[in-house]
């Protein structure tokens, strides 16, 4: 699986989320050879972990399915999963990239029949569900996973559990001797599309994330609403499994804050407005949402979405950044603050508090091999000094899916221009 004929006319795309997939496909569909490197065992990134998209509230499975079809039908894209870039050498038009590929312990023979999963008993945390639940140590990363192949968790290798999985497989797909390897890939241009991570909410000390079970993040709330999530699509609060009908959304949890993230994460307002729909959908009777905000930034043409939510009698807007959260004796999180419209103090209990956490670039703090210019928040900036390493999607800015795709297409075009020059010089 690791033999690739990559030349300096190849484009390497780092990150297989919506931006990376888009950049890879756009480039491949113009006839370029692409290597797509993804660190997780399946493509799709954070988009695949959403329950629904805004503004049309369709499921991301739909958008991903289109991209996966394009991918399956295109021989020019080579996908490497469980792979991370460990070094970049060279310059524009002539890069050599080292890629570390972790063992999956399952080869191409896998039919995703699920026998190994049934044979294995060990449970491990499920990062696809933000560790809200667990799955078997032999698992399919998610229902739509591409490649549609199982993975063995490294923790069971060398134990009888791994042997059980191997014995259960009728297709000889389990290979316990796989080892981590580092391969070298030639590329003319590199697209860096490593996306984002939710800001660590535990750092916002007064909100008690990590101390109070019923204070969760917006990305975790997506998993609660999803039928493939840990609760089977029911909005149940973590402390006691009670239905969370009275949900508070706290905006700018980490964003627009000099003590946390300096930038506006741009998607959180729309995400919370969208999530009020989940509350109404799951609890047609008695569902209630409260949005605490500084100002609602329904970016661009989404103002009508905001107005529709405003007209919803089950949604209350309170213009205030919550100052602190405490917990009452029944485990309800209690929001404290001052409503800046009228300057009234409030102390309000809810069933569940959802922190609309900010977007932190995944590249922040990590050392991208080679020189990359980034802004004060750690997002990659377009800079001639970057050579032919181009940022795409949320690695470059806080973007929603729509804008991430636009950004990825732009990056693909830049990369195509570089490899076209290389091709001309060689012709």
């Amino acid at each position: 699986m690791t033999e690739h004929v990559a030349t300096n006319e190849t484009i390497l795309v780092v990150g297989g989320g919506i931006s990376g997939m888009t950049a890879a496909l756009e480039a491949a569909e113009t006839g370029k050879n692409v290597v797509l490197v993804e660190k997780n065992p399946a493509l799709g990134g954070r988009t695949s972990q959403l329950y629904r998209y805004f503004p049309k509230l369709c499921h991301p499975t739909c958008g991903l399915e289109i991209n996966l079809r394009r991918l399956k039908g295109n021989p020019r894209v080579r996908v490497l999963t469980l792979a991370e870039v460990s070094g970049i050498e060279g310059s524009t038009g002539n890069y050599t990239v080292s890629v570390k590929v972790k063992p999956r312990y399952v080869n191409e023979n896998c039919t995703a029949c699920g026998e190994c999963e049934r044979a294995v008993e060990t449970m491990v945390d499920d990062p696809f569900n933000y560790n809200l639940g667990q799955h078997k140590a032999a698992f399919l990363p998610n229902a739509m996973a591409y490649p549609q192949r199982f993975v063995l968790d490294p923790s069971i290798i060398g134990t009888p559990e791994a042997d059980k999985a191997k014995a259960a497989c009728k297709y000889g797909a389990i290979d316990l001797d796989m080892k981590e390897e580092t391969i070298e890939v030639k590329a003319g241009a590199v697209i860096w599309a490593t996306g984002w991570q939710p800001y660590d909410a535990a750092k916002i000390q007064p909100y008690g994330y990590g101390r109070f079970k019923n204070v969760i993040t917006s990305v975790e709330f997506e998993r609660l609403a999803d039928i493939h999530g840990p609760t089977g699509g029911k909005i149940l609060r973590p402390s006691d499994g009670k239905e969370a009908k009275n949900v508070a959304f706290i905006q700018c949890a980490g964003s627009r804050d000099e003590n946390h993230l300096r930038h506006c994460s741009r998607i959180c307002c729309m995400a919370s407005l969208k999530q009020t729909h989940y509350v109404r959908e799951k609890f047609p009777e008695g569902g209630k949402s409260t949005i605490y905000y500084i100002d609602i930034r329904a970016i661009d043409r989404f103002e009508d979405f905001y107005q529709k939510v405003q007209a919803d009698p089950t949604v209350t807007f309170i213009k205030s950044k919550v100052a602190k959260i405490t917990e009452d004796e029944s485990g309800n999180p209690v929001c404290w603050g001052v409503d800046t419209e009228g300057y009234k103090r409030y102390t309000t209990a809810h069933d569940l508090v959802v922190l609309a956490v900010g977007m932190e670039p995944s590249v922040k703090g990590i050392n991208i091999p080679g020189h990359i210019a980034s802004d004060s928040s750690g997002f990659i900036e377009a800079d001639p000094a970057n050579g032919a390493v181009f940022g795409a999607g949320c690695a470059t800015n806080a973007l929603d899916v729509n804008r991430a795709v636009q950004s990825a297409t732009a990056a693909a075009l830049r990369a195509i221009q570089v490899v076209n020059k290389v091709a001309k010089a060689e012709a």
Binding site: P206, C252, R256, D257, E258, N259, H260, I294, D295, K319, S320, K321, V322, A323, K324, W336, G337, V338, D339, T340, Y343, R345, T347
Partner: protein
């Protein structure tokens, strides 16, 4: 002046400019984004001590409400816990601005005379600069009689047992009422303070004159 600052300048009324020029760190007022975290984080907040919490004061300044702001008792209630500065998402030095507004209101004679914090501050300053030493007996008596003679006697009687205890323990000397202890160079310290006060007065007058 860039086009941007020219447009922004239209929104800076005279009172906001006055605060920016006269109040310590007053130029931060325009940075407030009205999120309300300062007020929510204030330890006095949920005792309704503040008539106008900090972000409301900032908005009132930006709305040009000069009389309401300067005669308000609100900023005098600040306990200097610094919670608001720590929590402010824009790192606005709110505590310092509260003290700055209070000081300015006092300087130009707008501060409410009988507001307890202001009353005590004036009393304390006079008390300690007079002899160079704090006279605790005179200070507490001064505070007891703040609201009139009858109330002062009542306060004194209420604190009687504490006072007797302090005298017995040698922590309170009744003779302090007559003059009291002093520092070595009483004249020198007064001259030094007078000089410092003069320097500050000249500096602030120059600022006021623009």
């Amino acid at each position: 002046m860039s086009a941007n600052t020219a447009v922004a300048d239209k929104y800076r009324n005279n009172f906001l400019k006055e605060i920016e020029e006269q109040v310590e760190m007053g130029d931060w007022v325009k940075m407030c984004m009205q999120c309300g975290v300062c007020s929510g984080s204030c330890p006095t907040n949920f005792q309704s001590a503040w008539e106008h919490p900090p972000q409301e004061l900032f908005m009132m300044i930006r709305a040009g409400k000069r009389e309401e702001v300067l005669t308000s008792t609100s900023m005098w209630n600040c306990t200097s816990c610094y919670n608001c500065i720590v929590r402010c998402p824009r790192k606005i030095p709110i505590t310092h601005i509260m003290h700055g507004i209070a000081e300015y209101a006092h300087r130009i004679g707008k501060a409410p005379k009988m507001q307890a914090t202001r009353f005590f501050s004036v009393l304390f300053w006079k008390n300690c600069t007079n002899t160079g030493r704090v006279n605790e007996l005179k200070l507490s008596l001064g505070l007891y009689f703040k609201d009139g003679f009858v109330q002062g006697v009542k306060n004194g009687l209420a604190m009687q047992s504490v006072a007797i205890g302090l005298i017995k323990a040698g922590r309170l000397n009744p003779l302090e009422l007559f003059g009291g202890h002093k520092c070595k160079d009483q004249k020198g310290i007064q001259a030094m303070l007078a000089k410092a006060y003069e320097i500050e007065r000249v500096r602030k007058a120059a600022k006021m004159a623009g």
